[in-house]
């Protein structure tokens, strides 16, 4: 059955790959050429693999049919991914994509970012918000994000994701080592809890195992990226997180019990951001953000809970801050400082000052600042 099925389906996929190549056979602006080349090369690398599914004699053995099916699914996924993300970004480039791509390049220059800045595509889906695709050096943001300043600090967080997926690059190694070291500390903390003889019912043990998995997966990464953002853009990052949580967040102390949790609780994220701001000398800003953060808790009726305290002790979180700060500095990235003279950094921080000084007038102020965000070349 599999022979016949693949003969038909793989033939169709090969034709689809050819269609994709045809769709990007045109001229692109310089910022987008690397993405076009990556997409073209990626599709070209998939074509022989697809053909192998039909011709490799090893796939004729009965014992290899499971492997063959897995290989087929993987190739379908890869073609889907490159079409839905990479080619989709190239197919719809508009002036906003170009402006946002140049803005991220300006940010990268300001903070002495060690990698080639990603291309930005303003087409996030509803659930995606800001979304990094390191394999394509591509970042998706919501459609109209470039017209507003208050969430743009999240761009700095996303730049952290590209660093954490970099390989064989000595310049970013200090930050990768910080990631490993801090995550291993968290794993050690969970292992100590698991080894305690009085750890309670079996469900608690299952939760501890799930949380260990989360720490080694998304939680450590997200916290490192939050710290990258806080070190890079300063108070604006903390305010941006508060803003996001006020708009879209739930209980900031809620510790998910699924091993697939994608983010740590917002309280833990805010804790490390505030610690980072204090390290940078932003004591007053950290105090102000924390006061507003506690107010939000109060309005929502949110309180700390036993799971949160078990899973996110301050000493573990502080270790993340220490490791990340050392790693950030060792990459020679610029640390946020008041009135740094960096256009985007200063504008995003000024935006939050204006927001709180005259909230009702903020929107008009923000619109007047569009030309500062995107100066004409």
């Amino acid at each position: 059955m599999l022979d016949d099925y693949l003969a038909g389906s793989v033939g169709q996929l090969l034709e689809r790959a050819r269609h994709l190549q045809g769709a990007i056979s045109k001229q692109f602006e310089p910022e987008f050429r690397a993405l076009a080349l990556t997409c073209r090369n990626h599709v070209n690398s998939l074509i022989p693999d697809l053909q192998n599914l039909l011709t490799d004699p090893r796939y004729k053995k009965p014992k290899t049919q499971g492997i063959r099916l897995r290989a087929y699914k993987l190739l379908v996924d890869e073609l889907d991914f490159i079409e839905c993300v990479g080619f989709a970004a190239l197919d719809r480039i508009n002036p906003e994509d170009t402006l946002m791509t140049r803005l991220v390049a300006d940010i990268a220059e300001e903070l002495m970012y060690p990698l080639i800045p990603p291309v930005v595509s303003c087409q996030s889906h509803f659930s995606s918000y800001f979304h990094a695709f390191p394999a394509l050096n591509l970042l998706r943001v919501p459609l109209k994000e470039g017209h507003f300043l208050l969430h743009l600090p999240d761009l700095y967080h996303e730049l952290g994701h590209f660093i954490l997926t970099e390989q064989n690059n000595p310049v970013v190694e200090p930050f990768l080592k910080a990631h490993t070291s801090a995550a291993t500390t968290a794993r050690g903390h969970m292992a100590a809890l698991l080894s305690k003889p009085t750890r309670g019912p079996k469900t608690t043990q299952q939760h501890l195992l799930a949380w260990t998995t989360c720490w080694m997966g998304a939680w450590a990464t997200e916290i490192l990226c939050d710290l990258f953002g806080a070190f890079a853009v300063g108070p604006a990052y903390g305010w941006g997180h508060l803003h996001l949580c006020a708009k879209r967040g739930g209980d900031p102390f809620l510790v998910e019990t699924s091993p697939d949790s994608s983010h740590p609780p917002d309280e833990a994220r805010m804790f490390v951001m505030l610690e980072a701001l204090v390290l940078l000398g932003y004591h007053k800003d950290a105090t102000a953000i924390e006061a507003h953060w506690r107010d939000l808790h109060s309005f929502g009726g949110y309180k700390s809970n036993a799971d949160y305290q078990l899973c996110f002790p301050n000493n573990v979180l502080k270790r993340f801050v220490e490791e990340a700060f050392a790693g950030y500095q060792a990459m020679n990235c610029r640390c946020s400082a008041p009135n740094s003279g960096c256009r985007v950094h200063d504008l995003l921080n000024e935006a939050w000052k204006q927001f709180w000084v005259a909230p009702a007038n903020y929107s008009a102020w923000e619109q007047r600042k569009q030309s500062d965000l995107f100066p004409k070349a």
Binding site: P57, R58, K63, D77, E78, F81, S127, F133
Partner: protein, 118 residues
Amino acid sequence: MSETGIYAGSYQHVRNYARSVDRLLLDLNSGTSPTEEAVAPVVSLLEAMQDEKTAAPSIQLLEIRWKQRASIPASRLAEIVSELRTQQISPRTLDDLEDLASLLDQERADMRLKLRGV
């Protein structure tokens, strides 16, 4: 604050591991003697799993999940590495590698669903 940003990077790692393990299994299950090029990435992955202190978090995560799923004792990793190095591969090692391949395939598929925002 990426909603799903983490999966972009992890996905690449898991995909690469999945490809490496399946490439080796394809040789082993088809009676082909695997080349050093096919063995080395899998040995490298298994060796990294053995060192919990220095392994990248994504590898530590994989090791945790594999052990939970297949009840693999810590000592088994060294045995599998030794068999791969000497190309004296037992049926038990083939089963364990197949289990790892299935886990990687499942992880990859789960991550892909999250990338789509489902």
